[in-house]
Amino acid sequence: MVEHRTFNAVVAGSSPARLTNTLRDLVERTAAGETSRATAPRFSQLRRRSEQLIVEEAQTYVFPSPTSHDFLDQNGVNQCNRFVQIVLENAGTVPPLAAVSIIEQAIAKSRIGQYLGYSAGPSYPASAGDWAFPRTTMKCWMNVPTKFNDSLAGGPTLDPADRAEPGDVIAETIFRYSDASGHVGIVQAQQQTISADSAIDCADAASGLPVQPAGTIDVSDYGFRPDNWVDPLKDPRSGQPCRLYGKNSSAVVKRFVCK
């Protein structure tokens, strides 16, 4: 409807010659598939608005905000997925729903459950592993194309993290964690992820900064690290690298697509 309204307004105040040019222009644009974009700004503006709200909401938690310690690790278990859930809720988006009964849990684990908006796990909110499952499309959250998708399309191949935009959710499955399924955060910009950082205490100690407790919300390059990355920050207590994960090629990116 937008292109029609635009077209009528143009027609009303146009000379015949200008009208012909306008018509020709419109026909050419239609042939080129551009007129469908006339409706796109409204949707993309709304999506951009959602992304902006997600980023703004996430930024309110970043250290030294008073709420930066709201998601501290509990008994060594990171609360990164709870942080993402709260941010998405507060930003007015639709985070994956909880599965509450055993029947719903069974549904949630199925592919149908993913499309209905349930998290893949039986617990609420969606775990990092749910977010990082590359073939899962949760309601309102679409996967950003992977290298595999690119290779099918025959174009240049990019990792999802290379295409990450502000407001996307970036996640990684980490099987070696005994109490967590991975890590998840909100993309603030390329190379910048806001998350409940379980390695912040190690990184602070290694950098000689006042040590913040594990799980403090900060901005890191999680999910954007090159494959050959070795953490230059070493744990002063053990001499081991503070961080091992967050590589670009392991990251799965999901984008909010509902209005």
């Binding site: 008994n75 060594g76 509450v100 009964s101 055993i102 029947i103 849990q105 070696r176 964690y177 005994s178 109490d179 379980s198 390695a199 205490d201 190690c202 100690a205 006042p210 040590v211 594990a214 070493k234 744990d235 002063p236 207590r237 053990s238 001499g239 081991q240 690298p241 503070c242 961080r243 091992l244 994960y245």
Partner: protein, 171 residues
Amino acid sequence: MKTFLKWSSLFASVVALLLLVWIFEPLDLAKALGEYLLPTSVKTVSLACTPISEDPPPDLIKVVDEQRGLYHLRLQSTAVCRSDHSDPAQEGRFSALPRSEQFRIDWKPLSRGCCSARFGRHVIVAVGNSKESGSVIVQAALIESRGDYLNDAWQRFTQKLDRMKGSFSRH
């Protein structure tokens, strides 16, 4: 009739196995069995400090004893070392457990008491005294009895069952 019995018993076995795997989670079950069957060993972590032959400070040994009593553990070994690194935020006694991601993957911190983490039946307590000149750190290796370890696994199992009952009762 025989074929029916054969297939139904096979089906029941598969269901029971799947149920066991779902309830215990494969790694937990495998780890529990491994811990039960393997011979007892001593597990410690590598700390960036220089071993010294001094007696451990009494206040740090007290922390080790408290953890031993709290979790009904057996002390296997104690080591004392000195570190030049002094964290300005740490004054007096502090947890000397490593903060690296590798350590967090291998060891799970214990919620009660201070400065300890678990790997299967193995528990380490790493505690230090911070001074201007550096720190003295005590690392103790302790172990839980096989009986207690299996009992803990059973408790986790019953907690899972309770949660399942809870989710049924809501509907």
